[in-house]
């Protein structure tokens, strides 16, 4: 029984997300550590660029994590920490880049494309020809009587041959 439980526990442990943050990096102050974790999630690892530094195992990411914690311990606000890193690596390191002329396309682009698509759909729907009343297409009463008259005449002559 104990063996089964051990194996199960091992399985659960293996299923846990692998943390990049190493024990020696973690700050004693849980509040500061929490802030550091939050900030790390918004900072791009410059080596493996689609990962944030909180989950990246690159040495560079570790250096930046330690740097973030040092700045926090030194009394920096969250903003000051981000500014510090941006001053060295540019807006590129932020997963949540600021809204400014060089990022307009990034922020507005998707909405512009969606708006164009919606415009297209609206135009398509409004410009589709309206359903025409069936009565307007069918024979009118006049036509029907004309047809009846023609048929009656036809009958009088009788079948040919």
């Amino acid at each position: 029984m104990i063996r089964i439980l051990t194996v199960l526990a091992a399985c659960f442990l293996m299923a846990m997300p692998v943390l990049a943050v190493q024990p020696d990096e973690i700050l004693n102050d849980p509040v500061l550590e929490e802030r550091a974790r939050d900030l790390s999630k918004d900072l791009r690892c410059v080596v493996c660029q689609n990962e944030n530094i909180d989950s990246s195992h690159a040495g560079m990411a570790r250096d930046l994590r330690i740097l973030v914690r040092e700045r926090l311990v030194a009394g920096d606000s969250d903003e000051e920490v981000l500014d510090f890193v941006v001053a060295r690596y540019g807006d590129y390191v932020l997963f949540n880049p600021p809204f400014k002329p060089s990022t307009y396309a990034l922020w507005i682009g998707p909405f512009a494309v969606m708006a164009l698509g919606l415009l297209g759909v609206v135009l398509m729907l409004t410009r589709r020809p309206k359903k025409i009343d069936a009565k307007a297409l069918a024979l009118s009463e006049e036509e029907e009587s004309a047809v009846a008259a023609m048929l009656a005449e036809d009958g009088k002559e009788g079948p040919k041959g």
């Binding site: 410059v46 080596v47 660029q49 250096d63």
Partner: protein, 189 residues
Amino acid sequence: MKRALFALPVVLVLILGGFFLWGLNPDRDPNAIPSVLIDAQAPEFALDGIPGLDTPGLAKADLSGADNPLVVNVFASWCVPCRAEHAVLTRMAREENIHLLGINYKDKPEDAVRWLDELGNPYERIGADLTGRVGIEWGISGVPETFVIDANGIVVYRFVGPILSAEDVRDMQEAIALARSRSGAGGTS
């Protein structure tokens, strides 16, 4: 209004086509991180030399007032591309009339000394960045990286990765020429 709408698909195709053309351009490196240092002063830093090596250390103060452009190369003995690049840098230092300076990034001093003994030491100054903190000041994403700096201490160009091919060397030469022309215009204050 109706006429404008007819032009819309053409405009869309042009915009998207331009975007794809830009994106598929083989010369574009999507992983390139633009350096914030270009056209700015090199960062403040001061590094001691590598212990056990005669070459002096490197600090911000060493980066201005030089007669010729400076090339700052970030390297490490554990970095294989750096070893490949070393021969090219050595030749460039000899032929191009530049000051080649080094930042030894996160290296064990004894490894660095052995490496330079083996391959030769083309650097006028080398700062030992044991913690990698100065590397962050320079905004590097790995080694090797190379910066070209004009006589006023302003960063003109950043090269990411090893300088190996003739094309790489030409890029560097262009940057060095640019640094030289700017130094001439700005004086050596």
